[in-house]
């Protein structure tokens, strides 16, 4: 339509619109994200509690990272921060592994043309459902069902079935291990449907002729899975891993709300809970802004490292593979929308 020179002139003359279109994002992002981030950075170099106005340099970092520093409780502060990092990691690993295994299994089953499964659509819908429920409500739901004593649903049922006695009820909420397992279970419950559907779209993006060829060569489904599906799913698996990892670092609602009594459970304290708690302990000279700020910046650095590693590992393969899947999924979506309505399940 237009010559190269013309289009160059055009693009130059329209460049200002480019800036105008992206300006709102950058203005808002700087105001509500970048500046608070800098503010957090500043807070991390100031003191805690009554000392909150004073500059303390790297004191907070040395306290929570190495257990040395000015406060008498430096070692304890380090212990608590280390524990919260550990908890975050344990809770994340404990929900990611079962979640990815279960999702992968289901995704393979649901996409296997040979398996005749009635109600596939229904299963997908039900399995995705937990994901849309408010985490606060999920915590409330499980707290009401899995309370520690015989006064709650599950333990009372276990007593009726004779599996525990009134004095040996399972401490689902306050038990050191049981409560962690509960949070892992709930996280898996919340997310396996989502992961399953993402993996399904990945599997459906694989060229079906590969499977046909493998069939003809006599490969069984296990071999097909390990030789074809898994390698080709790698980009989307990495994507799932990264998003899940970032989500894991942010884990807050469930660990924070899943407790008895007035205070959150220390055995479920994740980094996000640690930051929130130190920041929100009460009046200005009661809160530990310094610790909260330092912990935030440490998380920021961890995220940045994780992010850049995965970014460089997958920049090309990932982009190409995902574009393909997206196109395919998008076609399906369009087709679904054309069918319209959608009032049936």
């Amino acid at each position: 339509m237009a010559s190269a020179a013309q289009s160059r002139i055009k693009s130059i003359s329209y460049a200002k619109y480019g800036y105008m279109f992206i300006a709102p994002f950058f203005l808002v992002y700087c105001f509500f994200q970048i500046w608070p981030l800098i503010y957090t950075f500043i807070l991390s170099f100031k003191g805690n509690q009554a000392n909150n106005e004073a500059w303390v340099g790297f004191d907070n970092y040395s306290q929570i990272l190495f257990g040395t520093g000015s406060a008498a409780g430096a070692a304890a502060a380090h212990e608590e921060f280390a524990r919260s990092l550990g908890n975050t990691f344990i809770l994340w690993i404990g929900n990611f592994i079962p979640q990815i295994l279960l999702s992968l299994l289901l995704a393979v089953w649901f996409t296997d043309a040979k398996i005749k499964l009635p109600g596939k659509g229904f299963f997908k819908i039900v399995m995705y459902m937990p994901n849309i429920i408010t985490a606060a409500s999920v915590a409330a739901l499980y707290l009401n069902l899995f309370g520690d004593s015989k006064n709650y649903f599950v333990n009372s049922l276990l007593i009726k079935m004779g599996m525990v006695t009134e004095s040996t009820t399972i401490q689902f909420v306050s038990g050191e291990v049981a409560s962690k397992v509960m949070v892992m279970f709930i996280q898996t419950w919340l997310w396996f449907g989502n992961t399953m559907i993402m993996l399904m779209s990945g599997i459906m993006g694989i060229n079906p002729s590969l499977f046909e060829a493998a069939d003809i060569d006599g490969a069984n489904s296990t071999q097909q899975f390990f030789k074809i599906t898994l390698p080709l799913l790698q980009p989307i698996m990495v994507y799932t891993l990264v998003t899940s990892m970032i989500g894991g670092l942010q884990m807050f609602d469930l660990p924070y709300l899943f407790h008895n009594g007035a205070n959150f459970s220390k055995q479920l304290e994740t980094v996000a809970v640690y930051i929130y708690y130190n920041f929100n302990k009460g009046t200005v000279d009661q809160a530990s802004y310094g610790y909260a700020g330092a912990a935030s910046i440490i998380i920021f650095i961890i995220t940045a490292i994780l992010g850049s590693i995965t970014f460089y590992m997958n920049r090309d393969k990932d982009a190409i593979a995902k574009k393909k899947q997206r196109k395919k999924a998008e076609k399906q979506l369009k087709a679904k929308m054309k069918q319209g309505g959608g009032f049936s399940i």
Binding site: F25, T40, L117
Partner: protein
């Protein structure tokens, strides 16, 4: 033994195997479905029982007859002759878990955030794909880079900042930042790159359409599917956002559904377990119903690469 019958046997065997596998898979799926649905069923069942009955037998599988009473307590609509203790419980629940107000607040926040998120993300994505300017590359890289930063990282500074701006107990800090949603922009840019013909923009220019009008009247409708998908996710994640809301909204008049649920959980006296269950039920029921109505789109949307929040 002829080859044919041998083949037939193998085939039968193969069919049997497939059959057995399908049944096994079906059983697993049914079990998982139960795991997903039973907690919700029990929740609804328990919200129809009286607190005292639940104290005597907490594991009940069938509906009770106290839904109406629990509802009256929650709505603070008790008969005049109710006891002082019952009235006090009703007062506490109704003023903390004002279900209408909670929905309204959540709806306002989630609704406006969703609008802002999809509109401005589409706009930014449009700006990045349609125009060729010097900083478009760096800007896109920046957006991808910040996509992964967890909200907790800046939350301490964010709340202190809102405090100094006097925006505590205000919806603005929960709605306006929705304009900047890097992950949504990332999604929309890839969508536009794959399915938005730039020639249309040229054509519109020739027709004398202004740039902004082109975006609103031509680009947005064409990005329909992507916008619909992201709108659903943005809505759900904003509706469910407890972390930020809880730090900003301290006034009960502004409390959203997640905040109300957490407050009910925090009650240390005047507790009525039946009403507790009812509160949780009411907090999840609307979104579950809407989900089932829209489920097909949502599932297809997740497959389209929905962003995990």
């Amino acid at each position: 033994m002829s080859t044919k019958s041998q083949y037939g046997e193998v085939k039968d065997d193969y069919h049997k195997k497939i059959m057995a596998k399908s049944i096994a898979i079906l059983i697993v799926c049914i079990l998982l479905t139960l795991i997903c649905l039973v907690p919700i069923y029990i929740l609804i069942v328990n919200s129809t029982h009286a607190s005292n009955d639940l104290a005597q037998n907490p594991s009940r599988f069938f509906f009770g007859s106290h839904l109406g009473d629990n509802m009256k307590t929650l709505m603070n609509n008790l008969p005049e002759d109710a006891g002082k203790a019952a009235k006090r419980i009703a007062k506490q629940y109704s003023s903390t878990f004002n279900v209408g107000k909670g929905y309204m607040n959540s709806l306002i926040i989630a609704g406006f955030s969703t609008l802002l998120t999809v509109f401005f993300s589409a706009m930014t994505a449009y700006g990045l794909t349609v125009y060729d300017f010097k900083l478009s590359g760096p800007a896109y890289t920046f957006i991808i880079a910040v996509m992964m930063i967890p909200v907790q990282v800046s939350s301490a500074g964010f709340v202190r900042f809102m405090y100094t701006l006097n925006l505590i107990n205000n919806f603005i800090p929960l709605i306006v930042p929705a304009i900047a949603a890097p992950a949504v922009i990332f999604f929309m840019v890839s969508y536009m790159k794959s399915s938005f013909p730039l020639e249309i923009v040229e054509a519109a220019r020739i027709d004398g359409c202004t740039e902004f009008r082109t975006f609103v009247t031509i680009a947005i409708p064409m990005m329909g599917p992507a916008i619909a998908v992201q709108a659903i996710f943005a809505f759900v994640s904003n509706w469910n956002n407890y972390y930020t809301q809880n730090m900003i909204l301290k006034n009960a008049d502004f409390a959203t559904v997640p905040i109300m649920v957490s407050k009910v959980l925090a009650f240390d006296k005047n507790i009525d377990n039946g009403v507790n269950y009812l509160c949780v039920t009411l907090s999840i029921l609307p979104i579950v119903i809407v989900y089932f109505i829209l489920s097909k789109f949502i599932i297809a949307g997740v497959a389209l690469g929905g962003v995990k929040e």
